[in-house]
């Protein structure tokens, strides 16, 4: 039961985050929004890092350099999602983002990009995606 509660909360928080970011986006510029929210999040994470006494940051050296830049995508994510929520609201933004996210991961795994093991798309995944697209269209139109 607790696991389910946390899963529900994670989805709730993701949706909430998009709206909160859009709210900040109405009083400061998009890039300021991205900068502020991530800086605050980073600070919180740092405090939790200390609280949970996690091992040192030095293991970062073991990660392939290009993957260390993944965080910078967050700037684009916040900026574009703020725009999207402002234009089309929460449901459409979240539904569309989910579709794009799933499709992207499928393609990455299909071609074995970014050092991911190659995994062809399974029939149920294709079916699931198609059903989701129809669902998203219904929400949109």
């Amino acid at each position: 039961m607790p696991g389910i509660v946390f899963a529900i909360l994670s989805g709730f928080f993701i949706s909430l985050q998009n709206v909160l970011n859009a709210t900040i986006g109405t009083v400061v510029s998009t890039w300021s929004t991205a900068m502020i929210t991530q800086a605050v999040g980073a600070t919180g994470a740092l405090l939790l890092y200390v609280a949970f006494r996690e091992p040192s940051f030095s293991t970062l050296k073991q990660v392939k350099t290009r993957y260390l830049f993944g965080g910078s995508f967050g700037a684009v994510v916040v900026a574009t999602s703020v725009f999207a929520v402002t234009y089309v609201g929460a449901a459409m933004t979240n539904a569309t983002m989910l579709l794009a996210q799933l499709a992207t991961v499928i393609i990455i795994e299909m071609f074995g990009l970014f050092d991911m093991p190659k995994q062809p798309i399974a029939r149920h995944q294709l079916l699931g995606l198609t059903v989701m697209v129809v669902g998203a269209l219904l929400i949109t139109l």
């Binding site: 909160l20 009083v27 900068m35 929210t37 949970f52 965080g71 574009t80 459409m92 794009a100």
Partner: protein
């Protein structure tokens, strides 16, 4: 509307790619250290782009409301709840339940005109669409053998 959808597609694309990149980081670095690093780089990247595009206007916080400063902590909630759920019920169930919660919550936010969202009237197409997306994500994550821990 097309513009909004294009932005959302772009956002989703980058979320997907970022997830893959973050997986690489999480393999070597502990959870909160990785999170702090990832968010910090994101913040710095935003600062750089903001400086390039808007100059020092990026520091114009005059209209910021006090409570807004704390909104960034929700991201911590996302990560903590996702990690905990995955640990307790596995990634598949977490994602399916999470997506259902995410979409349902979004719809409620729209219907209630939460914060800056324009109020949207609930139509049957919205409910049908939501149900289809739930079916879709379940199918997408369907696994014949439940071997998760």
């Amino acid at each position: 509307m097309i513009v909004g959808i294009l932005f959302a597609l772009c956002a989703g694309l980058f979320v997907g790619v970022q997830g893959i990149f973050n997986r690489h980081v999480n393999m070597k670095v502990s959870s909160w250290a990785a999170t702090a690093f990832i968010l910090a780089t994101g913040s710095i990247a935003s600062l750089v782009v903001g400086l390039l595009l808007d100059g020092t206007a990026i520091f114009n916080f005059s209209d910021m409301k006090p409570a807004y400063w704390l909104f960034g902590l929700v991201g911590i909630g996302v990560i903590f709840c996702t990690m905990t759920a995955m640990r307790k019920i596995g990634p598949t169930k977490t994602i399916v339940i999470g997506v259902i919660a995410q979409l349902t919550t979004s719809m409620i936010f729209d219907m209630t005109g939460f914060l800056v969202l324009p109020k949207v009237t609930l139509e049957w197409t919205h409910i049908a669409g939501l149900l289809l997306m739930i079916v879709g994500i379940y199918l997408f994550n369907y696994q014949k053998k439940e071997t998760n821990a």
